[in-house]
Symmetry: C2
Subunit: 313 residues, 2 copies
Amino acid sequence: MSTFVAVDIGGTHIRAAAYESDNITPLTHKRTRSHAKEPGTFDRLVQVIESAWPKDRSVEAIGMASPGPLDPLTGVVLATPNIPEWINFPVTEKLSAHFGVPAYLDNDANLAALGEWKFGAGRGHHDVLYLTISTGIGGGVIINDRLLHGYHGLAAELGHVVVLAGGPTCSCGFEGHLEALAAGPAIVRYVREQLEAGVRSELSSVNNLNALEVAEAAKRGDALARSAYERAGEYLGIGVASFLHAFDPSIVIFGGGVSRSGPLLFEPFEASLRAQVFNSRYLENLVITTAALDDDAGLLGALALAQMKQSNQ
Amino acid sequence: MSTFVAVDIGGTHIRAAAYESDNITPLTHKRTRSHAKEPGTFDRLVQVIESAWPKDRSVEAIGMASPGPLDPLTGVVLATPNIPEWINFPVTEKLSAHFGVPAYLDNDANLAALGEWKFGAGRGHHDVLYLTISTGIGGGVIINDRLLHGYHGLAAELGHVVVLAGGPTCSCGFEGHLEALAAGPAIVRYVREQLEAGVRSELSSVNNLNALEVAEAAKRGDALARSAYERAGEYLGIGVASFLHAFDPSIVIFGGGVSRSGPLLFEPFEASLRAQVFNSRYLENLVITTAALDDDAGLLGALALAQMKQSNQ
């Protein structure tokens, strides 16, 4: 029996959990608010790991999921916008020095893909495309049972692929990316633009609109709200068709808050995907599904990472 | 010493060559016109292989490059537009039965990528993006020293990735694909559209325009011809930036006729690529180059395929 500690650095919380081998029910599970904009994130990270550290077992390694950009090959966080003090921050080296065991790092979308492949919706598949859709769009790709990293460790940034050259500006500052057309803020932006253009909607009275409120209005039948999700689903179908042509996976798994909006998004998405795939063979036996691990995908991906790295030693 | 026979089915010729181990100078090399629209392509294929078959050596396997779509996993040509009589045609099974040795198949762009990686411009790289630009755009991707195939064997169809949703119609019938914006016919189409719109150019007097004539006019200073290549280069930069974000290769290799147009295409391409990459780290140590094997890329890729398959037996 091997014991691993998994860590997930999220926008609001840092979580740590200890697992025994492949048992996805944790031995221990602790969380703390990340207060990531304030100094001392590394100290809070160490404290939550210590509080989750099993007292009676020998831990083999630590696996950690963090927002990127980061270098999974060296374990260095490059400059994640959520934690301003972590610039070229060698987090695995520091964790390893503190805890005396190897530590491994990868970005949250890659590890959610790995977690779903090993423990969740992607079990039994060898070629997996994972997309998380929330305030941004992140991607993770598994090819022949291996996570796609690329030369610099920056592959699978699938929210930042151009689908509409010259189109709306993305959170990253570039134009026409999938994220700028299909993530939560893109849905909200479209509603705002249409309201400003004089389209009527119950949403005209809502301040600080978010994608969830648009979804609720759509479910009540609001035409503008429905069309905002239809448009996002259509672009998502265009993007995923391109990803099928590029990666040819056997399963597409959707995670993230916006993916929980159900048929509102997925009906137009599937229609668009079928209309855009240029050879119907890509769709043969293709599974399209939502993530099975929910909020635990990052932790379980970090567990899978630590296990995999140790078994490759 | 192992001997292999490599075959390349091109638009105008079928070629076959015998190679000894890793020596890329063939022992024998034969070609015949493919007359691919006429019946009897398989018989012509067998004849040219027989004529290239080395008399005094034992051949270990046959490797074959063909236009797709095809299934590299089963060796079946699905429905290549160039050879109307080959519908779900089990070419490797038939070759193997005739010649009594294993036969392996992959598409021409994948094998050009494999050939460049093993014998050409990509030697020493582990993560390769290969694009061939001529009347279409084909792709081949190598990840961790392995050709990317995907679940159905249809991965890396990079000409058919959407970069401008709702944009011009591609040869495949779908809209906004990279091929419809940056391949030879896209360059010609743009010139025609601009001529029809009244733009002046020396090309207005040319019938049956092709991309090479546009290139020659551009080199003589024709403004419309130059702008057609600039536009193609700009879209190519947008597409390749997305491919860096998706695959993060250490080298991008360009093959095909249009890639021989030099700075006309590659100056605007590189400017566009640099302007579109959303994190400059993708460009660190990135090599951008043209193919080294020219017309032999398919044959040498077929050789590499046969060698690799036999060594994995």
